[in-house]
């Protein structure tokens, strides 16, 4: 991946991105958003387009270890980056403890916002494995849910914290 690069408005640029552990190479327009790259070019449809203006968090993915709204990042910016989407959380057909917790606590109704919430929870708990309820609420303030009223989402994050602790103890 070259540090200096110039691509014209009518040109396409070859990018290499490691998504969920696999390297992909694709040609993209400079204006292509990361969310469209993940959904349309790679078929990772857990990454949802909600508001498309950076408010709702449904498109949240992990890029180089930090959570980002993939509708606010260009695909070409992810050149050389490592991306984790919801698809990458599931291992051998088994749900990730955060996903299990969302299921068990009924932390979703329509489910549209869920992948974004799960990914932001993933980042929140990687930064702070033991957040208070206030910290959970603040940590998820970039994600909107129009069904649940958030209560069960908070409960799910609390359960996920327990599950992850138990896993670590084993």
């Amino acid at each position: 991946m070259a540090t200096t690069l110039k691509v014209g408005p009518e040109e396409r640029v070859r990018i290499r991105v490691k998504v969920n552990g696999v390297w992909y190479e694709r040609d993209v327009e400079p204006r292509k958003l990361l969310v469209h790259f993940l959904r349309e070019d790679l078929g990772l449809t857990s990454v949802h387009v909600g508001c498309d203006t950076g408010h709702c968090g449904a498109c949240t993915v992990i890029m180089n270890g930090i959570s980002v709204k993939s509708c606010q990042v260009l695909a070409v910016q992810a050149d050389g980056a490592e991306i984790l989407t919801l698809e990458g959380l599931t291992k051998d057909g088994k749900l990730h403890p955060i996903q299990e917790a969302f299921w068990e606590k009924h932390a979703l109704q329509c489910g549209y916002c869920t992948p974004g919430f799960v990914m932001e929870t993933y980042w929140l708990l990687s930064e702070n494995p033991n957040p208070t309820e206030e910290e959970i609420r603040r940590g998820l303030s970039g994600n909107l849910c129009r069904c649940t009223g958030y209560q069960n989402i908070i409960e799910a994050v609390k359960l996920a914290i327990q599950k992850l602790k138990e896993l670590k103890a084993v």
Binding site: K6, R31, H36, G57, S67, Q77, R138, L140, S141, G142
Partner: protein
């Protein structure tokens, strides 16, 4: 929504970015991109090229020195938010960072980018004005430093000239018993300020205000330093009456406009309330 078509240049140094901007007035810097992307999608801007500075090395620093703090053009809001050393010096910095946008936005958005964007309701300008910070600018003819107060010249307008980019923000370390605070009134989590007030005070051992600076955002065409308000504090002990008088002056110094976040009248009233809270919050430290 798709952004309009633009070209993309990834640079390895700020000097390279300056060269591009010097020859192409329609090129725009891409740092955190958290204000830029919505502007592109809404087609409010149509740049020829985006000049991506994210791969420039050694630009994400927060360097705490004996007489100043230097913050690199690529330091993200989140880095400020979690910096315990900064908390010990200026709590207002962390207080500001944590109230910007939301966690995902703070992971990418930068202080320098917020200043260059110059939204009249942005948080950083209030606090940086109250801390008497300045912006270090790199341009075709070298570097220059401009106080944040003068850097933002109007709504979405700055002192940046042709070919110029922000290289860092410099915050002086004031000596003595310094108290700082930023209080933001917002309608909901993640929103821009209805009004925001930042306060820096230097107190004598007897509790008199030796020096004060106050920055106010979202209460005028640009964030401003409330000098009349400061005068009401300097040389005095901060009794409730003194604070009330200062808050009253802050209200008179402000000139907000009516918009979706409230009427001009409401915002002026809120400048008074938030100024009072910001002073009390600083004192409580």
């Amino acid at each position: 929504m798709y952004p309009p078509k633009f070209g993309y240049i990834r640079v390895a140094s700020l000097d390279e970015a300056v060269k591009v901007l010097e020859t192409d007035e329609n090129a725009k810097i891409l740092a955190g991109g958290q204000s830029l992307m919505p502007m592109l999608k809404f087609r409010l801007i149509r740049p020829s090229y985006l000049v991506d500075i994210n791969r420039v090395s050694n630009l994400s620093y927060i360097s705490i020195e004996s007489d100043k703090i230097r913050i690199g053009a690529l330091a993200r809001h989140h880095q400020v938010e979690v910096n315990r050393d900064l908390w010990k010096i200026y709590p207002a910095l962390l207080e500001t960072a944590v109230q910007i946008g939301d966690p995902q936005i703070r992971n990418l958005g930068t202080m320098a980018g917020s200043l260059a964007h110059a939204d009249p309701a942005a948080d950083w300008p209030a606090t940086l004005i109250a801390l008497r910070a300045s912006v270090k600018i790199l341009g075709p003819s070298g570097t220059r430093e401009v106080p944040v107060e003068d850097f933002i010249t109007g709504p979405f307008t700055t002192a940046l000239g042709k070919g110029e980019v922000i290289s860092e923000i410099v915050i002086p370390r004031l000596s003595g018993n310094i108290k700082s605070s930023y209080v933001k009134l917002e309608r909901k989590a993640g929103d821009f300020a209805v009004v925001g007030v930042a306060v820096t005070l230097r107190l004598s051992s007897e509790g008199y205000v030796e020096d004060a600076s106050i920055g106010i955002t979202a209460a005028g065409p640009r964030p401003f330093r409330a000098r009349e308000t400061e005068k009401a504090l300097i040389g005095r002990k901060l009794t409730d009456d003194v604070i009330e008088e200062a808050a009253e002056r802050a209200m008179k110094e402000s000139s907000p406009i009516s918009d979706i976040r409230g009427s001009a009248e409401y915002k002026r009233a809120m400048v008074k309330v938030i100024t009072r809270r910001a002073i009390k919050n600083a004192l409580s430290r």
